[in-house]
């Protein structure tokens, strides 16, 4: 009886304040959309780190025929130089740092190049004999790239040592900036949502002051008087959060999984499964935000 009475009050309120409730839903939706995007971006960064840091970390590029690097003054790398570099990489000095080494010859580099750019204009654009040979080194600790770099800085036959993580780190930096922007927008929008919920609750309480006045007079408990208002805010915010989750799922399904995944070869992007993990979090944030702001508002504007 009690709960059905409260529910009828709640839905009465939602109907009466339809435009305000709709604005709460929309503002919550937009703010949580940014929150969700920020979380998904971070999940993507985490996933990419796991993927890449496990793989080749440092590439020791060997001299091609016409390199201008000082260590390549003698022309294309010779077989003896290759053997000596391999011996160094697998030798005692670097044993503590190097985990795995493999040699990538021109044929393999060509195949990987074409795989990576399959379907684009770059596919097949570089002939096999122009590909560069390299040693791919996996480090024990990804941070110790500098040791390998210094070790080979003056070695004849080594054109350049490239820390591939550095390229990734740039990408991660961009994604972190994007996350920060999303978080900043989300914070502003969340503040808007909190203020809007407070205003909506005040209006709602004002339009029902007759009822609440009588309720106080006949001894209804505070929880009973305030619950419909709190639920009104919470339901609106939860709807907004669910909507944000649904839109994120659509974007990820069609945009990321459907389109971007086809473009980005090799590694996994965020999936609808990730959105399903994020959505309950968003709904939780929405409910807590609306609950807290409406309880505070009611404490200020509805006396006992």
């Amino acid at each position: 009886m009690k709960s059905s009475f409260i529910l009828s009050e709640v839905f009465g309120g939602l109907k009466r304040n339809f435009s305000m409730v709709l604005s709460v839903v929309l503002v919550t939706f937009v703010s949580l959309l940014f929150v969700g995007s920020a979380i998904l971006l971070q999940m993507q960064i985490g996933g990419m780190k796991d993927y890449w840091y496990d793989r080749v970390q440092v590439a020791v590029f060997l001299c091609p025929p016409d390199s201008e690097a000082p260590t390549c003054a003698e022309g294309e790398v010779t077989e003896e130089q290759k053997e000596s570099i391999r011996a160094d990489l697998e030798g005692q000095d670097l044993a503590a740092y190097v985990d795995e080494v493999h040699f990538e010859d021109k044929e393999m580099a060509h195949r990987l190049f074409n795989e990576q750019f399959a379907g684009t204009s770059l596919e097949g654009s570089v002939p096999q004999d122009q590909m560069q040979e390299s040693f791919r080194v996996k480090l024990v600790d990804a941070e110790q790239y500098e040791i390998i770099n210094e070790y080979f800085s003056a070695t004849a036959g080594v054109e350049e040592v490239v820390d591939q993580n550095k390229l990734l780190d740039q990408l991660f930096a961009i994604m972190n900036v994007a996350t920060a922007i999303a978080v900043a927008i989300a914070a502003i929008m969340l503040l808007c949502a909190v203020l809007l919920i407070a205003t909506t609750i005040r209006l709602s309480a004002f339009s029902r002051r007759r009822e609440t006045g009588i309720m106080r007079l006949v001894g209804a408990s505070n929880a009973f008087i305030q619950l419909p208002f709190v639920l009104e805010g919470v339901i609106a915010a939860a709807l907004g959060a669910a909507l944000a989750g649904a839109v994120l799922a659509l974007v990820v399904h069609f945009g990321v999984a459907g389109w971007l995944q086809a473009q980005a070869a090799g590694f996994e992007l965020v999936s609808v499964g990730d959105v399903l993990i994020v959505t309950p979090l968003l709904i939780g944030i929405g409910i807590i935000m609306a609950g807290v702001s409406s309880v505070i508002t009611l404490r200020r504007y509805m006396k006992v």
Binding site: M1, K2, F5, R210, E211, G213, I214, M215, R216, L217, V218, G219, A220, S221, N222, F224, I225, V304
Partner: protein, 229 residues
């Protein structure tokens, strides 16, 4: 049932207090009129009994409980033992007679079963049988006040507070309302009624407490109105 001990209430520390060192006791089942000009403190007494206000100093006991230091969460339970009617009825315009009375029971968590027996009973007590489906705008002022009284006493409170209940009604209708309140009092409910209506006070011949500028001027068993006499 209601005890004030040296109760002082100031709304503004600079101005004269609304009530100044007021003490009285209304026993269970008693009928007490509060009379006095506007601003004499009648409504403040009503609000203090309801604990809508807290006295600046002094002690108040209502229905056996000291209410000054009562924690906020207990106040609703105090109010369940008090029925209140006002000059302006305070009915919900979008609910019919039955639902207006039932509302008071719904919001304190009564079951539908008890509501469906309590409401018709109390509507009969106040003389509104057969008008359950009417809306407030379809009723006369006297009938609306009967609905308000029904709502105030449907939960069988020990105390009925009435703040100028006949203030908006003509003399004949006022007398009908007084008959209803008198009947409720005879059933054992303590009544504390603030009023301007001298004729009613004189006719009822009950205890009268006269307030002026927040001070009790007289407190008479079987008193009459004579404000400022």
């Amino acid at each position: 049932m209601i005890t004030f001990e040296s109760v002082t209430k100031s709304y503004d520390s600079k101005a004269e207090p609304a009530l100044d060192d007021v003490s009285f006791t209304a026993e269970a089942g008693e009928f007490v009129f509060l009379v006095g000009p506007s601003g004499s403190g009648k409504s403040t007494v009503i609000r203090l009994v309801l604990r809508e206000e807290i006295p600046t100093s002094g002690r108040i006991r209502v229905a056996g409980k000291s209410i000054v230091k009562m924690p906020t969460w207990k106040v609703p339970y105090l109010r369940r033992s008090i029925g209140t009617v006002f000059q302006d009825f305070r009915l919900l315009p979008n609910k019919n007679v039955f639902d207006n009375v039932a509302f008071a029971l719904h919001v304190i968590g009564k079951s539908s079963a008890s509501i469906s027996t309590l409401v018709p009973d109390v509507l009969e007590t106040v003389g509104l049988e057969g008008k359950q489906k009417r809306y407030p705008h379809e009723l006369s002022g006297g009938e609306q006040q009967r609905v308000a009284i029904a709502r105030a006493v449907v939960n069988k409170p020990g105390i009925l507070l009435a703040d100028e209940p006949t203030g908006n009604l003509d003399p004949a209708t006022s007398q009908d309302i007084m008959d209803v309140i008198d009947r409720i009092n005879r059933n054992g409910t303590t009544v504390l009624m603030a009023t301007h209506d001298g004729e009613i006070v004189n006719r009822m011949n009950r205890r009268v407490i006269e307030l002026a500028d927040g001070v009790i001027m007289r407190d008479e068993e079987r008193g009459s109105y004579q404000v400022g006499a």
